[in-house]
């Protein structure tokens, strides 16, 4: 296995890579913002007392969780322009597709967090005479958010990995740029390795942070 690594072809292409990286980060961060806020709202909907409110929310979540992300993205890119006459830029379309996907997964994470709050705490609130909204705001929410945070962050990095899928529909993110470079210069090994390293370098710090938070939480809730 004597392959001569040669990164020289990258001279002058750094700008293109950075452009792709910028788009990847844009996709990830904005879809995360959408996913975190709407996921929370969607979660509340699934916990509503009225079944007629719960069911559509549940269907939404199940649909996005039980179909491939790639399919969702491809569907958005080919079907939305056909179905609706107005034009949304490809990046915005990507953000919406990724954002909706993340919303569904985050809604489940929030729900798990809420259900992890021990029933005894709810009982204690009733016994202390707290009103329902006080109970939610001061007791359930803080604890639910605390247990949901690691999963939400893991989903967030997952969104980074999934953002690479938009390259398949020719959105100029890091993956797409890398693809172009690899084929243009006939150097797939260096290019793809470099791209992988960049994604890795972005993910690892967040993953470590998640582990740190989880360990602190285990310690805090022990006995």
């Amino acid at each position: 296995m004597n392959y001569h690594f040669d990164f020289s072809f990258l001279d002058g292409k750094v700008g293109a890579l950075l452009g792709g990286l910028k788009i990847t980060l844009e996709l990830t961060l904005v879809s995360n913002l959408l996913g975190l806020t709407f996921g929370f709202l969607l979660c509340l909907t699934t916990l509503n007392r009225r079944a007629i409110v719960r069911w559509p929310a549940r269907m939404f979540i199940e649909f996005f969780r039980c179909t491939p992300a790639l399919l969702q993205i491809v569907w958005f890119f080919y079907c939305i322009p056909m179905m609706f006459d107005f034009f949304i830029g490809p990046i915005a379309l990507g953000i919406i597709a990724l954002g909706l996907n993340l919303t569904a997964f985050n809604a489940e994470a929030y729900r798990a967090g809420v259900q992890a709050v021990p029933k005894e705490h709810l009982d204690a609130c009733v016994a202390l005479g707290l009103r329902p909204w006080q109970r939610t705001f001061y007791v359930v929410l803080p604890q639910a958010l605390r247990s949901a945070t690691p999963i939400l962050m893991t989903n967030g990095i997952g969104a980074l990995q999934q953002s690479a899928l938009v390259a398949v529909v020719a959105v100029g993110d890091l993956m797409y740029v890398g693809n172009r470079l690899a084929t243009d210069a006939y150097r797939p090994l260096e290019t793809y390795t470099l791209i992988a390293v960049i994604y890795f370098a972005l993910s690892v710090p967040v993953a470590q942070l998640v582990r740190l938070i989880e360990r602190k939480q285990d310690f805090a809730t022990e006995r």
Binding site: M1, E62, C66, T67, P68, L70, L71, V74, Y199
Partner: protein, 221 residues
Amino acid sequence: MSVNFAIVFPYWRVLLGGLMLTVAFTLGCAIAGSIGGFVLSLLRISTNRWIKSAAAFYVEIFRGTPLLIQLFWMFFCLPVLFRISIPPALSVLLSLTMYMIAITSETFRGALKSIASEQHDACIALGLTPRVKVLYVIFPQGLLRAAPPLLSNVVSLFKESALISSVGIADLMLVGQNISTNTARPVEFLSAVGAIYFLVAFPLTRLVGVVETRMLRRYTY
């Protein structure tokens, strides 16, 4: 714009072929990946510092990079690196299996960790040798506890397998995309493909829940 789902039905045989391929890849890589993942999880609790770190690093790589890049890397770079030509199906199998190994090793690790520490104490109190303890107490319980999340991992793999379409494997995703391009009716065909994925993944996800609550309650704490 009018939507007519009846045009999908004549293509059922092709779509089924794509589905079969998807399922074949999923099952093959799921089985190989689970076995490999189990071995890897054992390496991760090894006492040797280097083995433990190497195993942890492996998991980090495959979870910290997009699956798409892993597929592309195996597909394009491996032949270049080793100066041999690898059939596309093989590189895809390799890539998905290595990904699955990383994912399932975390599942097994979590399952082993969830065994109550009092079980370990009980083994010492009964004077069980390490071999007996692992074989009769830890391993069976670990397997039981890992079963529901493992099934969940397989369902995830089923969905992620759609990516192999991007390197030209004629799975359900690629077949659907091709037909929709040829007939210029993406809405009907892509929705149909989505429905097929859903109809497989959704019941299986539900099954995981049932397995977890009904069966497991009998054999675990």
